[in-house]
């Protein structure tokens, strides 16, 4: 095995381990509680327009930074906007960014990774490009890209996606490289299966379990990166509330109005926690062979 496959394999192993939580699926209740929490947050975010008391963009200059009251259950922000309405609505975009970034980077990474893993000719070139993309610090790339395209939702997702793609590619490639050595792949070759069939039917399914884990990891970190970008002034347009920019806007008021950070932060943490737990459980369910030796 060459050194690169070894390091990618250990990186892959690293990743799958990274995402695993205490007890994995055996924790039993864990994933179910996680799914419930996530479901509640997703539904609450999607349905936010139906029940939040105010338009999340509606400003009342004269009632800025108020404490919790009957009118404003969580108080108001520096624009006099209702924090509760904003936080609940903010979930929509944050989750969209998370899911969007995960889906896009997994899809792109899967295709590129399959190609790289299977066609040796393309491998070297693709992997050098991927190495380069990986070496560029994600946050700087993101800032630059957002400056380039303006902080639209799309460009934030792209900015978050670009540095993630090479990681997915490496993962997929390493799975493909090791899976193609499996006797059942040799058996398929012996049975006369054509290459595309081997690629898509035998090899690709091997990548699903680690990809789900990776995807949940990307989803979680995308939501966080969006928050960091907002902190640095390069996040999604300030008109669209997201947990990230609510927190970023609230950072100045940390000492006088901690709720601005606390509430979106709480939902964000709960989400990331649940997503991780679910990803972990999904891996165990998807791949019966990945029973961990926990002795």
């Amino acid at each position: 095995m060459t050194d690169t496959t070894r390091s990618t394999q250990s990186a892959f192993a690293a990743l799958t381990r990274l995402i695993s939580l205490p007890g994995g699926a055996r924790l039993g209740g864990g994933p179910i509680i996680a799914a419930l929490i996530l479901l509640v947050i997703v539904v609450a975010s999607l349905a936010a327009p139906l029940y939040v008391p105010y338009d999340p963009l509606e400003m009342k200059a004269l009632s800025r930074l108020q404490g919790p009251s009957e009118a404003h259950p969580l108080g108001t922000d520096p624009f006099g906007r209702d924090i509760f309405s904003r936080v609940m609505t903010g979930g929509q975009v944050s989750l969209l960014i998370g899911v969007g970034a995960a889906v896009v980077s997994v899809a792109l990474g899967l295709i590129i990774g399959l190609v790289a893993g299977f066609f040796r000719m393309a491998d070297a070139i693709i992997m050098r490009i991927m190495d380069s993309l990986m070496a560029i610090p994600a946050i700087l790339l993101a800032i630059a890209l957002v400056a380039l395209n303006g902080p639209s939702l799309g460009s934030v997702i792209i900015a978050i996606t670009i540095p993630e793609v090479p990681r997915v590619v490496r993962l997929v490639r390493s799975v493909v490289l090791s899976a193609r050595e499996e006797p059942y792949v040799e058996a398929a070759i012996a049975l006369g299966s054509p290459m595309p069939k081997i690629l898509f039917q035998h090899l690709m399914p091997n990548t699903f379990a680690p990809l789900i884990v990776q995807g949940t990891y990307i989803c979680a970190s995308a939501i966080l990166i969006e928050a960091l970008l907002s902190f640095l002034g390069a996040g999604v347009s300030t008109e669209i509330p997201t947990w990230g920019n609510i927190m970023a806007e609230g950072r100045l008021y940390f000492q006088i109005k901690p709720g601005l950070i606390f509430w979106p932060g709480l939902l964000l943490s709960l989400c990331i926690l649940s997503i991780n737990l679910l990803g972990d459980a999904a891996r165990d369910v998807l791949d019966p062979r990945m029973k961990k030796r926990e002795g």
């Binding site: 490009i129 700087l140 991780n276 926990e294």
Partner: protein, 313 residues
């Protein structure tokens, strides 16, 4: 081994070249005009044009690119468009704080996270394990700046144990450096600890199930020896890997931490440069961080063979 290192070093050349082209193009496609920044709000178009001319911003892109590459090959990183100081001296002045904080972060993280992970794996599915893992998930899901604010609030403002902000170089006054660096390092370390502890635990769990651990126990070896001599070294490769790839995370975190704790490091330098379109600085910084990332991961790869004699290059 030497051949391997040589090969890896050579392999970084195309990587850095791609980074360079990519960054250059990205920047030149980004809207923004360093001349306008330099001149301020009320400059006339004619004045701007003259400044642009002088900065070479009116040359065709490929000329600008080759000028830059030519300079680079001579070891010249160029001159800041805005402050007119040489980029290498700017980086020279600012890299110290970042490196010192980063090193301290890594030290703290490894010193705390590895034992945490080992113990969690050893006592797995007990409350110790649960505690360690809860912390690590939490550390993973709270934005860095929030952690920074919380630490400042508690340790600098309420308890007054450490200063709120600022940086002193360790050469100047190590004690002062330490008290000032401890909070930013801890802030950065949270996410790193979370990562490493989790990886250590998972890796150790795997190793603890191996036959040779049973062999060690069958020899009547004490538990701490089993854990740290027999198991940890075998678990080291994925842990090292995550330390290496986590370095990218560290770089992102540095940008934010330097803002929160007012540390004059390269993270802020870069963000400021991006916001001011100070092309030579941005280009140099991104090349530099990419280079550091590549080198760190090269070192990590080479260190594998130190921990695991089966890996020979």
């Amino acid at each position: 081994m030497l051949g391997y290192i040589l090969k890896r070093v050579l392999a970084t050349i195309p990587v850095m070249a791609i980074v360079a082209i990519f960054v250059f193009l990205l920047l030149r496609l980004t809207p923004g005009d360093p001349a306008a920044i330099l001149a301020g709000d009320a400059a006339t178009p004619d004045q701007l044009e003259r400044i642009r001319d002088r900065l070479g911003l009116n040359d065709p892109l490929y000329i600008q690119f080759f000028t830059w590459v030519g300079q680079l090959l001579q070891g010249d990183l160029g001159t800041s468009l805005i402050s007119n100081t040489s980029v290498s001296s700017m980086i020279g002045n600012r890299i110290g704080p970042t490196i010192n904080i980063a090193l301290m972060t890594i030290l703290i993280s490894v010193a705390l996270a590895v034992p945490m992970g080992v113990i969690a794996a050893w006592r797995h599915r007990t409350w110790v394990d649960f505690l360690v893992m809860s912390f690590s998930v939490l550390g993973f899901s709270v934005p860095v700046f929030v952690i920074g604010y919380i630490l400042i609030q508690i340790f600098a403002i309420e308890l007054r144990w450490v200063p709120v902000q600022g940086y002193v170089s360790p050469g100047e006054d190590f004690g002062d450096f330490f008290v000032r660096a401890i909070m930013p390092s801890l802030t950065l370390a949270t996410i790193y600890i979370a990562l490493i502890a989790r990886m250590t635990r998972a890796s150790m769990l795997e190793v603890l199930g191996e036959d040779y651990i049973r062999t060690a126990r069958a020899k009547g070896v004490r538990e701490n020896v089993v854990l740290f001599r027999h198991a940890l070294r075998n678990a080291a490769v994925p842990i090292l890997t995550i330390i290496g790839t986590g370095f990218a995370l560290l770089i992102s975190g540095v940008v934010v931490t330097e803002s929160v704790f007012n540390i004059p490091g390269i993270g802020r330098l870069t963000v400021d440069a991006i916001l001011a379109r100070d092309y030579p600085v941005i280009q140099a910084m991104i090349l530099l961080t990419a280079g550091i990332y590549v080198v760190v991961n090269l070192l990590v790869d080479i260190s594998y063979s130190f921990f695991d004699p089966r890996i020979r290059y």
